[in-house]
Structure formats: C-alpha cells, structure tokens
Point group: C2
Chain length 376, copies 2
C-alpha cells in the first residue's frame, strides 16, 4: 500500500455569504489547494456536502474546468468533508488513483432561514430532539454528574473565540468573558448562544498524492471512519462518546500511535461547547471528566500543553457542514507546516482531526472520522 | 489487484409505495442480497440515493443491525446506485475491504407530489429545461434529422412494457401497441406519457467480494465512471451521447472486450424512450442511427439478437433514482446466472449495465457509469 500525503490545502472565508454561490466558494478552496499542491491535474474528486442540491459537485467543478474524471459526492452528515478525505485517501493508498482532490462545500445561509430543522421522517427529531437539544442533554448530564460546571462549558467558547482572533478566515472571533458567554441568549438549556456553532457558508479542499518526502507534504499517518449506534444502553457515557472513542482507537492503531498524548494539536468537533469537552475525553487527549477543567485551566488553549481548535473550531471559524472536516484538515496541515501565523502551535509534529456526524436530528450518532497527520 | 464478483443481489418491489418507508424498502433489498450471498457480515457499505434525507443510510441500515462499520452515502444524480457499486467494487479490487455491500434506495412518491422540479439555483432548470424537456429536445432532434421516427420511439416503450410482463417486481407492464403509446398524454413533445419513466419507490443491493469461482458468482469484468460536459459544442451528437460513448469505451478496455457486439444482454438508462435509442448507439450495441430501427424490428427485444432492458427498464420496472443502477445490476446478475425466468436471455454470458446521471435539470450530463459483468 502507498503512503499518502496532503500536498495542498485551501479554503474559502467562512461566514454567512448569501451574496456568493457554491461555485464562488468552491473556486476559493479548490483554487488555493491546487496552487498549493503544484497545479497538476487530479484523477478523481470526492465532494462532501449535506444540503447542496443533487448534481452540485459536477456543476461547481466544471465551472473550474474539472470534468471528465470521476466525481463522487459523499454524505455523512457533519462528517461529510472528512469522509470525502477518507475516500480520497484510500484511493491513493490502494493505488486506484495517483492524485486526487477532496472537497467540502456548503451554503447554509441560503438553504435555511435559521437552524437546521429535523426531517419529518425522523421520529426523534419530530419529538423535539433537534441538534441543540441533543447536545444540551449531554451538557445537562455533565452538570448533573459534576463532570463539568457551567463556567467550564463557557470556557470552551471563550477559548475558541479568542483563538479565532488569529484566524482571518473565521466567521466570528472576540474576547469574551465567561460571564459574557453565560449571559448570551439561551438556545437549549444550559447551552447559550455563544456555545453554539453558527450558520455558515464555506468550502475547503485538499489534494492528496503519494508521499515523496517534500518539505511541504503533510503525511497521513492513519485514519478511521465508523458508524455508530444511536443510544448504547450499556454505556455509562453520553451520546457520541463511545463512537468517538472507538474511532480514535482505530485511527491510533492505524497511525502506530502509542497514546493520545503524542498529539501536539487537534481540531475536534465543537459544534457546541459540550462537544469539545466530551470529545477530548473520549479521544484520551485529557483524562475522563477533565475536559471542562482543561478548558478552564488553559491546557487546551494556544500556549497550553495541548491546544485544541486553534482555528476557532466550529464555534468560531463556523460550521458549513460538508466543508467542516476539510477546514479542520487544512488547519492541521498549516499547523504542521508551521504556517499558522498568530495561532501557530510551536513545534507541532503530530496533529489530529476528529469530525462527528450526527444526522439531522442528531440522534443517529451516525458517523465519526478521525485522521492523524504528521509534519513534513 | 483482486478479481471481484457479485456474490448476491436483492431488490424490493418497484412502484409507488407511500405506505412503506425507506427502512422497509432497504430491508427487502439488503435481506435478499445478504441471504443470496451467504449471510456473512460485510466490512463497509456504500449507499446511493439522491433525495433521501441526510443520515438516511445509517438510519435504515442500523434498523437491520448493520452499524459500526463505515457507511458512506454517495450521490451522482440518476447514476447514484451504480456509483455506489463502483465504489464498493474498487474497495474490494484494491484490497481495502474483503466483503462489501452496495445499496441504492429512493422513495420518490413521498418526496415529490409529481415530477422532480429543477433546483432554483439551476439556471437551465429555471428556464424550463426540466428532465422531460431535455430528453424531448434530443428526441425532436432525432426526428428532425431522420435518425428515428415517432413510431420507432414508441417501439421502445412497447418493447419494454412487454418485457416487464415477465418481471413480477416491475412497476408497470402491459401489451401496448405503437398507437397506444403515441395516443397517451403528451408530456414533452414528442414524448408521450408511456415514453416517460414513472415516479417510483424502491431499493436494490449487491454484495461484492473476491471471485472464488463459485457457481453463482457473477464476475465484474470491467467498469468505468466518468463525469461529462453539459454541452459539447464540437460534437454533432445530442446531449449525453458522447459521455455514454466515452464511458463505454473506457469500460470495454477495462473488461478486455473487443467489441460491444460481444454483449449478450444489456440494461441501459431508458428514462425516456429516446434515452435507450441514443444509448444503444453511443455504446455501439447498434450502428449509428439504427437505435430506433433496432427497437421497431425486434432486434433489442427478448428473442432478438441483442435484448435490451429485459427487466422492463426504467420505463416499466420504474426509476427510483438511487436504486436504479443496482436494480439494473441485479437484473444482469440474474440473467447471467440463468435465473431470469420468463424474461431469460438464452445463453447470456456477457452483460452490460449503463446508467446516466443528468443532474436535476438534466443539463449537466454529469455522470455515467458502465459495468460489464460475466456469467459464472
């Protein structure tokens, strides 16, 4: 099997951009990724999107002159972009193709008036378990069990919004206090507005090809993609925890990593503040029950022992669903090249991306992807 | 690389089934395919669908106890099911997985009141070029150039509806005359109602694994998947022709087939009667300009020299978008095993599936997949 490297990445700006269209956003991301990788043609493209109309991938790519080759749209809820990366990676690793593109693109501002509404066919969603409600249940459970405090939840928001001050492509950024976060409008108790990711538009892309030892190539050390049970009645953990844990264990084995503590920098799925706390614990970046404390103590902040979401994360960079995984991968690529500017994690050698796809109502816990990258 | 075989196939019935749901349809197809293949667990699933909500794949599969493994939804317009098959095939061919499932599922009766409407973001669709209109333009061009007559177009409908009399899973079947077809309600001039595929619900699935020489294994001899230009200004042919031709050339090379005339039986994308005519010519199953004559003369009928769409095709079996490609692959699998009952093509050794995905407005000509299968 072939060792694969990321040869180039690119993204659009993130934010509400209703005046632009999917072609504009794609052009930003793909143009930058191809230029970064050296502008050779690719053999195939995988495109992650959740709500773009059928046929979007072919339409936006042919506007950039990319046609004739296989173009395959993949959907895996919020993990769609990371799934596109996994599929692209596997095609190079197994020798199916020599050079491929993974793209994620989403324009939520024009697709929805506000938040994503559950599908009518989804009984849990009909019952009220939209995504904020589902994450709120996990947060409430953490508070009830004493695994986190409201202030620790808020600390994740404070941290990630501060990180985004150094990310010119982020949707939101700011120096908020814990009190600011707790005083923002209640969305789903105990999650306030500043603890919820925004409605975003954006695109991100990566070019993958065999590793050649180039000075700007970021190696794909290992990855895993899994689907999961919605509710695991035998697990003591909140929704999502076990799927993230199991996927990380599989990815670490593929990467030959002895421990999560070998990770220098991580981008994880903080769609809501509780998401980052549960995920850092599930992956083993922090000890069980220590995710909230780590955020509050600065352990997971830039300058801390293990920076998490230096880009600002979904909370601040934004969460254009299909694009998110590739935006995370672009961030870690920049970090491992030492190109992350004011948000650079010094000496980062091993980076991790984790993306969780929760279906429309969120109850499916339906997909998780974990990718381990290493510096050139 | 590993030689791959189809070890099992299954489908639901096809038709308007609003009283059933996506889980019911999936259970029919996957249950039959797994039982046919010997009921061993699979390592991964690719699911083709166009309009099922995000997260559907995980939801319907976990209802059957399939979870934990990678589940990847793919979309390629009407070629989504065949794309799922291509991706599943490539995963076994390249050694990524040992045994995989490809599923296609769609329930159009509950998703749309009538025909599929173009996306508002699609300028050609907004201008009126919905799919029937686009195919009607190709048909009008054929009539104008004398490449076919209205009666020859109708002959495709007569033939495929007669084939479906032998297919108990087909949505529609009947002994119509040319006059009946021409007298049915005009949908998009010159295409009448009986020349247009219906709104359908259904699912189909295939299990793929390395070939072991088993007596019921249908070998995958070669395949190709391409995207295409919407309008090729340098081509004298109607929309879609060149993409189908180029994809078939690539598939035949992969299959080591000297000529299209080596094909014994074919399932091709007859979403409208003109589609079968253009496709049989583009693939080389008949000579240029002979597609209509072949249908009228019985060459492409059961009992003719080269039976096309023995299942009844999209026109009669039905066209549940994401399921269609796998329904075609199931039909050819049954044909090559000699299990096709009253619609069996005697002595069929080499079979072909062609699926065309045309985007919502149809203008993209955006995907074509061709698969060549061979008898055990």
């Amino acid at each position: 099997m072939t060792q694969v490297a990321v040869h180039g990445v690119g993204t659009s700006p993130f934010g509400r951009q209703p005046e632009r269209d999917l072609i504009d956003l794609t052009a930003d991301a793909v143009g930058e990724a191809l230029a970064d990788a050296g502008d050779e043609p690719v053999d195939a493209v995988w495109v992650g999107t959740v709500f773009a109309p059928p046929g979007t991938a072919q339409r936006v790519l042919r506007a950039l002159g990319i046609t004739g080759i296989p173009i395959i749209t993949v959907e895996n809820a919020c993990a769609s972009g990371t799934t596109a990366f996994v599929e692209a990676h596997e095609s190079v690793r197994t020798g199916r193709y020599g050079r491929v593109l993974a793209l994620g693109v989403e324009q939520l501002s024009t697709a929805f008036g506000g938040a994503i509404t559950p599908e009518p066919s989804d009984p849990e969603g009909r019952a009220g378990l939209a995504l904020p409600a589902l994450y709120a249940m996990a947060a409430a459970r953490y508070l009830h069990l004493g695994l986190a405090t409201a202030e620790q939840l808020a600390a994740v928001s404070v941290k990630n919004h501060a990180h985004a001050l150094h990310n010119p492509r982020a949707q939101y950024a700011g120096r908020f206090s814990i009190a600011d976060v707790l005083a923002s409008r209640m969305i789903a108790d105990p999650l306030t507005l500043l603890q919820c990711c925004p409605i975003s538009d954006g695109a991100a892309a990566a070019v993958l090809a065999p590793a050649t030892g180039g000075a700007r190539e970021v190696g794909v050390r290992g990855l895993a993609l899994r689907s999961g049970l919605p509710w695991n009645h035998r697990s003591p953990h909140v929704w999502g925890h076990d799927l993230v844990r199991d996927t990380a264990v599989e990815a670490f084995a593929a990467a030959g990593l002895a421990a999560a503590t070998d990770i220098d920098v991580a981008e994880v799925h903080d769609a809501f503040t509780i998401g980052e706390i549960v995920t850092t614990e599930a992956i083993g970046l922090v000890a069980p029950g220590e995710g909230g404390k780590a955020a509050a103590a600065g352990v997971t902040a830039l300058g801390g022992a293990l920076p998490v979401n230096p880009s600002g994360g979904l909370l601040s960079r934004g969460h254009p669903l299909g694009a998110t995984g590739l935006a995370q991968l672009a961030e870690i690529t920049w970090q491992l090249r030492g190109d992350a500017g004011g948000r650079q994690v010094d000496g980062a050698r091993i980076g991790l991306v984790e993306t969780m796809g929760g279906g429309v109502s969120g109850l499916d816990g339906n997909a998780c992807a974990v990718v381990v990258l290493e510096a050139p």
